[in-house]
């Protein structure tokens, strides 16, 4: 590439980064501005008197901490349930021979194609009957319904990349089926499990619709709906608090991403895994 070509490439790339990163930067900056600077014209980019007051108010005067705790429990529990089921399910879909195995895999995918709006009311009624209405457990079940098919397909391609000979070798070496799965298959799947867990965690962390319909009490509300109902009313939007809340909602994801980025991108290349 010539110097000019490289320059143009870099300019375009950085312009894109700027466009994409600007709203995020604006979110952080707004969260740090005192109320008086928020609607000043012309707007200034950097806060003149940065303050953490919004964060303090959020944590002390609102149920934000409860919502945050709910979201953590919800996303973690959903991820744990989904990973446990999807790992065993993927193992079955890849390793066992039975009638309708392929159709089953596609059937699972088709359930994912149903618009979630269609499922909300039946799910809600089911939860009421089960006595789970307004609980975190109802949301864990609901999230599992849409996260599991996806996770199953993702893990299935990872599982297909684990050579069958490895398992056979473990069986001949004296392991039981479950022992071979634990000693030999599972360690090969770690990258796949981590990236699938990340996807699932992000899906549950950001879910809004089910949380809105299925949960109607502050004790079980996750961040997405909690922040909305708390800060956005018909008359007023608490912009500074909203931005502070957004920063704190994104933070865990950003931290997790930073640490596990390598695994996440590997998830997109699943199937290209070499045994």
């Amino acid at each position: 590439m010539t110097f000019l070509g490289r320059l143009a490439f870099n300019l375009i790339a950085w312009a894109l980064v700027l466009v994409i990163a600007f709203p995020l930067a604006w979110m952080v900056v707004t969260a740090l501005k005192p109320q008086s600077e928020l609607f000043r014209r012309p707007p200034g980019f950097l806060p003149e008197a940065p303050t953490l007051d919004h964060f303090r108010r959020l944590l002390e005067e609102t149920p934000f901490a409860t919502y945050f705790g709910n979201s953590v429990i919800l996303a973690t529990a959903t991820t744990a349930v989904v990973i446990a089921l999807a790992t065993l399910g993927a193992y079955s879909l890849v390793r066992f021979r039975y009638r309708g195995r392929e159709s089953l895999a596609f059937l699972v995918l088709f359930t994912y194609l149903l618009p979630s709006v269609v499922l909300i009311l039946p799910l809600y009624l089911m939860m009421v009957r089960l006595g789970l209405a307004n609980t975190l457990a109802s949301l864990v079940i609901a999230y599992t319904t849409f996260a599991l098919p996806y996770a199953l397909w993702l893990l299935r391609s990872f599982m297909a990349g684990v050579p069958e000979d490895l398992e056979s070798a473990a069986l001949v070496d004296g392991a039981s089926r479950l022992g071979a799965f634990r000693d030999v298959i599972l360690p090969q799947l770690v990258p796949g499990i981590i990236s699938t867990a990340l996807f699932t965690f992000i899906l549950s962390w950001n879910e809004y619709l089910y949380a809105l319909v299925l949960v109607n009490s502050d004790a079980a509300r996750p961040l997405t709906t909690g922040v909305m109902s708390m800060l956005i009313s018909a008359f007023n939007i608490e912009w500074s608090l909203l931005m502070a809340a957004s920063v704190m909602m994104s933070l865990p994801l950003i931290v997790v991403f930073a640490f596990l980025q390598g695994y996440l991108t590997r998830g997109f290349g699943a199937g290209a895994v070499k045994g």
Binding site: A169, L171, V172, S176
Partner: protein, 352 residues
């Protein structure tokens, strides 16, 4: 240590019959090769012996005990896989120790056994490495070590040398022969490579399309192939198979006319003759030279018979017949084999 018996062993995958009623008896301490082209059922047989596949019908006995319904762990066999199947997340030492660990051998004993096997296979300096840090030959050795560490009743080897380069393969072949000699264990070895089967085994079971073609010593299989398949499969270059008929004590076909031993049934037949029993430049038959391939220690000559069939001959290293030349051609009467012309192609021997 024990022998292995297969009785009318049959395996179907859906409508596909992988193995149709195999009978085989491997003696204690014997090295037997299962030889055949891909898809002949040899690997399926081995996997059934290991307990990784279950037979549709028939019986498998190891050391006199019927093992049909036993899971692999309880059959007391060890297997070396074509892909080696080393556990990538374990070190060499952990790989070798795994079978012992699964059988509840105490840690100290495990370490001693691993050290002993590592010594035997010259793996001691590599014990802390992971499989991906090893060369193909070293990985192969680790796979062997994992099988050897346990002293099982039977060793099963599934094309263990096929992923090695030619030189290393010859070397490992010699090591395996020596190992079998030293251990005296029953070994069943699957291969599609006739050279491996011929050089290593006490006996060879030749399989084709799920059926046993012949089960005998390498010498007997080479000298007296039981049918046309074995005749064509064993030996390089392959045995010449010429269609014709037997009449009045002579074989005629493709322009050949040969006297035969008395007592052969008349009718259509296939004549088999190995390239080393065909001489170019002298003899009662004639052939036109088509291809000359000098290999250094000999020259392979392919000649066309008057009837159009091609005949391969081994000629001396310096022989250089001109292409297109019509030369006399001789077939050694002691090197002639006759097979039925039907699909089975069974060997025809003179009635005594």
């Amino acid at each position: 240590m024990a022998g292995v018996e297969l009785h009318r062993l049959r395996k179907e995958f859906g409508a596909f019959v992988a193995l149709e009623g195999l009978d085989l008896r491997v003696e204690e301490g014997e090295f037997v090769a299962l030889l055949g082209p891909s898809g002949c059922g040899k690997t399926t047989t081995l996997r059934m012996l290991a307990g990784l596949e279950f037979p549709t019908a028939g019986e498998i006995r190891i050391g006199g005990r019927v093992v049909n319904d036993l899971p692999p762990a309880r059959r007391d066999v060890a297997m070396v896989f074509q892909s080696y199947a080393l556990y990538p997340h374990m070190t060499v030492a952990q790989n070798i120790a795994y079978p012992l660990k699964k059988r509840g051998v105490p840690r100290a004993e495990r370490a001693a056994a691993v050290a002993r096997v590592a010594e035997l296979l010259q793996l001691t300096p590599l014990l802390d490495r992971r499989p991906r840090q090893l060369s193909g030959g070293q990985q192969q050795r680790v796979a062997l070590g994992r099988a050897l560490v346990r002293d099982p009743q039977v060793f099963l080897l599934d094309e263990p040398l096929s992923n090695l380069d030619a030189k290393l393969r010859a070397h490992m072949r010699a090591e395996l022969i020596e190992l079998h000699h030293r251990l005296g264990r029953t070994m069943i070895y699957v291969t599609h490579d006739q050279l491996e089967a011929m050089t290593m085994s006490d006996r060879i079971a030749v399989l084709s399309a799920g059926r046993l073609m012949q089960f005998d010593t390498p010498g007997a299989i080479y000298d007296r192939p039981a049918n046309r398949f074995v005749a064509g499969f064993i030996g390089t270059p392959a045995m010449n198979l010429i269609e014709g008929r037997i009449a009045a004590g002579r074989f005629t076909g493709q322009g050949l006319d040969l006297p035969l031993a008395p007592g052969l049934p008349e009718g259509p037949a296939v004549l088999g003759v190995r390239p080393e029993h065909v001489t170019i430049g002298e003899g009662a038959q004639r052939g036109r030279v088509r291809v000359v391939e000098p290999t250094g220690h000999e020259t392979i000559v392919i000649a066309e018979l008057p009837g159009g069939a091609l005949v391969t001959a081994r000629a001396p290293a310096r022989a250089r017949p001109a292409i297109g030349e019509v030369l006399p051609l001789g077939l050694d009467p002691d090197g002639l084999h006759l097979f039925a012309a039907d699909e089975e192609g069974a060997r025809i021997d003179p009635a005594r």
